[in-house]
Symmetry: C2
Subunit: 443 residues, 2 copies
């Protein structure tokens, strides 16, 4: 049996957001240790109430099983929904990892004496209230809520309907844990329950500072279209691996297979492999063998099709270069040189993650410098583009925008800064008239 | 006579943007000294061709004079249009100041060894192509174009029609100067000529990375509504000065007068003065005397009106608290304490610039920490909120958004970052399976 929820039941989304805003003002004043202690308390509470979480998750899974049987839910979605005892332990340990990260707020980013007695500081501070809308995966809640609390932000969450029981219990437990820390407002976390709620949330630009949609491309696009609030998310993930003429072909094989098959639905999976013509003849046959072994469908440019005559490779159409398959499909293109590879990436890439495989450091450096993408790699799988792998502790999301935060986003994406100016009756008129002059001295 | 323009005449806006994109790729590879030398060359060229600039400006002014006479143009707009010999000298000297700033690109923001042989760097880099749409003031061109070149960005400009000749010549001279630096692409600067051009520009999200509108609130809002590209700008500037019970009333007077009258049309001018009730009786009479001397219309809350019985102060309506007058009008409210002042600012402020006048350091610190605004001041005029005064060299614009860049924005707003990961055949599967572990070590 699930205990009655401790969350306000009748509040409208606007009221929830207003409470979250008030809570965020309290959060912004908390010391680092108060925020960290609350995180550790939450981790403990999650471990203590693991059985309750699993119980709620079983309810969700039972309903989902019917949906899987009727074909209304995919098996992969179902897999991401199910939690185990290990999952709750991992949740707690991830929260503890976040508590250990350096404090992202109150950092002095610059200090300038503008004139004698007039000193300007630039300091990092929380954004305020962040709304996170995600599909399925209930483990998103502890991940993003811990990042929010660590950085002094309130968070409003809306998860997939298929995980409703699990999400409800996770937020309940979070609030129960916060109840034991009187300085940390319980309303710093809130749960939305319907799609209508989400649509209302997107209009509350006075009380909500950022919306983070996590889910399919179509979902992110919908949220971005409807939101009056700035949205952090990624559109497409069309990533490339370029196999240079000076590539170590063993490394190239490992990297292509990992980039494509380790988790093909991820946005950082490779969609197109670009192969230098000088190594195409040697490289393409073993690559296609490995890819087919892994169940990957291959589509090739005319040169690829010709070189792989005996393999009956399907022809890639122009459409393929601009498609995020999110599946076990890959397109292959033979290029004449590095410049052509970069040109292809510039034209078709989504500026997400791009990798070069080469033993030539100069060529690698040229690729790393010239390719315009959030992440550029030398001799590594595109699948590394992830907040946890980057050491950010957890991931708020991945951004393909160049503004505010780019690539895998952790705590940095949840902070802004403010300028604090200390004077002693200073006025601008004296500077305009020339009576006083700025000296702008870094201190 | 104006020399024939050296700018491509028949290019469509899409073509202009595509050229700017290509130019931005070259710019991104330039060394710091190549960018700085080009800036110094441009400053020299502006001085050398000062007469040509003034001549073009006289043409614009002649047309504008007719518009002023017929009432189609305001005198203040006209004043901002006119350039003098001193103006061109100032343009050149501001460009030289920008050249002297530290290089904003290629900075290593972090370096992490994820595992042995797998190293991640986060490095600042240019945004790419920035579109700047501004009203009147031709001196915006050298200001923003120098920031763009310094940070390795291409820039597309559209100024007010009333400054068409001046803008054309300024961009011509800029391009002529760049012609002498073969490594710096001439197409890194481009001029748009019509409102239709601007509307087309706002749709080119593949080739343009950021739009900066500079002008009236209505103008900024229109651009933001129509743009498919992220917009950096400020909505309203509803700024407050709070006179605390522990204020030095002489400082308070100076600061209120400067904040209101030094340039009332600016977004950082004060709109509402909040006065602690304990000092209201002493402070309000001299303040209103000074304000009226300066031609400022005063509107007061009931307590203000009652205290200033003999001054026949007009009553402020609720509407006043949420109005940006942009004019010689100010509203005054008596508050019971600091909390009430902060509450008023939270409710009605636009999170732009807020100032407290007090001799009590604790009260000041509380205000500085608690008020959520881009700039918070102690004993200083709100008019200091400006990129040049902050020592940013020049100002791209002022942002009231919390994302990407906040407050007066200089070079920082024109950069993003990219992650560079160097591996040696590293794949994610080995970490998923537990065969390898990340150690995430800052280096």
């Amino acid at each position: 049996m699930i205990a009655a929820s401790n969350q306000p039941m009748q509040s409208s989304v606007a009221e929830l957001a207003a409470r979250a805003r008030r809570a965020s003002r309290q959060l912004a004043k908390l010391s680092e240790s108060a925020r960290n202690q609350a995180l550790l308390g939450i981790a403990e509470e999650i471990e203590r109430q693991a059985a309750r979480i699993i119980q709620a998750n079983e309810l969700d899974c039972a309903a989902a099983e019917t949906a899987v049987k009727s074909g209304a839910m995919s098996a992969s979605l179902f897999a991401r929904l199910r939690l185990s005892d290990r999952s709750t332990g991992e949740m707690a340990s991830r929260i503890r990892d976040v508590a250990k990260l350096p404090d992202p707020v109150g950092r002095r980013l610059s200090a300038t004496e503008l004139d004698s007695g007039l000193v300007l500081y630039k300091e990092s501070c929380p954004l305020g209230v962040v709304g996170i809308v995600f599909e399925s995966r209930p483990d998103v809640i502890p991940q993003v809520a811990s990042l929010a609390l660590k950085s002094g932000n309130s968070v409003l969450l809306k998860g997939g309907a298929e995980a409703a029981h699990t999400n409800e219990v996770l937020v309940d437990i979070w609030r129960e844990a916060l109840d034991r820390f009187p300085s940390v407002p319980t309303d710093s976390i809130g749960l939305l329950r319907s799609r209508t709620d989400v649509m209302e949330l997107l209009t509350l630009d006075r009380d909500v500072d950022l919306i983070v949609p996590r889910g399919s491309q179509a979902f992110v696009r919908l949220i971005a279209q409807k939101s009056r609030i700035p949205v952090l998310g990624h559109g497409e993930g069309i990533c490339h691996v370029y196999i240079d003429r000076a590539a170590d072909l063993q490394k190239a094989l490992r990297i292509v297979i990992d980039s494509k098959t380790q988790y093909p639905a991820a946005c950082n999976a490779v969609e197109t492999v670009l192969v230098h013509r000088d190594v195409a003849q040697h490289f393409l046959p073993p690559m296609i063998e490995k890819l087919r072994e892994a169940g990957v469908e291959v589509r090739g440019c005319p040169a690829t099709v010709a070189l792989l005559e005996n393999w009956e490779v399907a022809s890639a159409s122009d459409k393929d270069w601009e498609t995020e398959y999110s599946d076990l499909i890959v397109s292959i293109k033979v290029v004449n040189n590095l410049a052509e590879a970069i040109e292809h990436i510039e034209r078709f890439g989504s500026r997400h993650t791009e990798s070069i495989v080469t033993e030539d450091r100069d060529t690698a450096q040229k690729f790393m410098d010239d390719v315009d993408a959030a992440s550029v790699y030398h001799n590594a799988s595109t699948r590394f583009a992830d907040g946890f792998r980057y050491g950010l502790g957890a991931e708020l999301g991945i951004s393909t925008s160049k503004l505010h935060a780019r690539g895998p986003v952790g705590l940095d994406g949840l902070t802004t800064y403010k300028y604090k100016l200390y004077g002693d009756g200073h006025i601008v008129a004296e500077y305009s008239s020339g009576a006083r002059k700025f000296h702008h001295c870094s201190i």
